[in-house]
Symmetry: C2
Subunit: 224 residues, 2 copies
């Protein structure tokens, strides 16, 4: 038999705390700021569109999976390209990450950008490519001239809707990542990306990883 | 004629505020957290002791000043050496900074250390070299085998005693440096170094500068 009762009045912070706790218990993946939080240093890489893959590797070419990445469906391909910067300096063996995207995008750390001769490469979210510098990309079948598409990727956290609820954040929000240890660095602009297919993971570039000593970090926390 | 009067009772924070104000007015150099704060990205470099300079460049050799640095008496020399890491990889044209020191010290960014084949290079304060990795150093006259001395320099702030008083810090304290802009990074371990000869200046390495986008920073603050 069902019974009804007036629920006790809760403050907003009590409600938040309960939601966090319940959602937290449901999460089986890496946990908020806990030892399971995965922070990945992405080395420079390329995402290609269909048209550019055809031009670089031949019509109808398909990428070969070399290694699955933490985000389901994403992979490092066996294929690489050569990137040629504005002063004819180049980076060989630039890894392609799959799957294909609607627009080609090259992600570099600032150290890479400097060594290629770029004056400036803006920090951008993935896909936000208007007004970014271009490059030449060379593959075994041909060369593509990109008018734009070279970025430093803004630091970002992939998470599922449950994980976002646990942190109390939503798509487009910005969180902080603190990396303790000998360096002790707080990154203030970790952009939240939410999708049901995502698993909790923070992506930074190699400059950021080197600056904060990510490899030797003794504590890592992600917070609002 | 002298007069005496009971001074008004001041709280500790009022006293601090007055001291800060007075000291602030006396400072003619770059100011605390203000637009004048100089943050310098130190590229990899070597400090040499007399004995090693003799072995690398010949007995009694004297360094040639190429460029004065911000700290009085310090300079980038015209002379460079070749650094050979643990896996026979090398970095050419490693700049020597003068004046000579009591012990040879090589300062690398982590990116440099990785490219040289080091597994780990510890973050250390200048001069704290026990237990650090070694290297071979090659000059035009000879080669030196260092048993230790390769470090990543801990981020640090040079300041005069007046400037230290202005910030309310002393030698050995640790401050924070916040670099705003597109990245937005706070470095938590800026070691305070105080000497009457110093001028206010923060030193970071190139990894740290690249990670926080130092070149394009819109606001920089040094604080306790």
């Amino acid at each position: 038999m069902a019974t009804t009762a007036t629920p006790p009045r809760l403050t907003r912070s009590q409600v938040e705390e309960i939601v966090r706790q319940v959602v937290g218990e449901r999460l089986e993946g890496p946990r908020a700021g806990g030892p399971g939080l995965i922070v990945h240093a992405s080395a420079r890489h390329a995402h290609l569109c269909r048209e550019d893959l055809d031009r670089l590797f031949g019509p109808g070419y398909e990428l070969t999976v070399d290694r699955e990445l933490h985000q389901p469906g994403n992979f490092a391909a066996k294929e690489t390209v050569t990137l040629i910067g504005p002063r004819s300096r180049l980076i060989s063996n630039l890894r392609i990450l799959g799957p294909l995207r609607s627009r080609t995008q090259i992600e570099l750390a600032f150290t890479d950008a400097v060594s290629l001769g770029y004056e400036d490469v803006p920090i951008r979210l993935s896909g936000d490519l208007d007004g970014t510098p271009g490059a030449y990309v060379m593959g075994p079948h041909g060369v593509v001239e990109l008018g734009s598409g070279v970025i430093r990727a803004a630091m970002h956290a992939h998470m599922s809707p449950d994980e976002a609820a646990h942190f109390g954040v939503g798509k487009g929000d910005v969180m902080k990542l603190r990396v303790g240890g000998d360096a002790g660095v707080t990154f203030e602009k970790v952009h939240v990306r939410v999708d049901p297919s995502y698993r909790l993971e923070v992506h930074m570039d190699t400059d950021e990883a080197n600056a904060c000593g990510l490899r030797y970090a003794t504590e890592i926390g992600l917070f609002k």
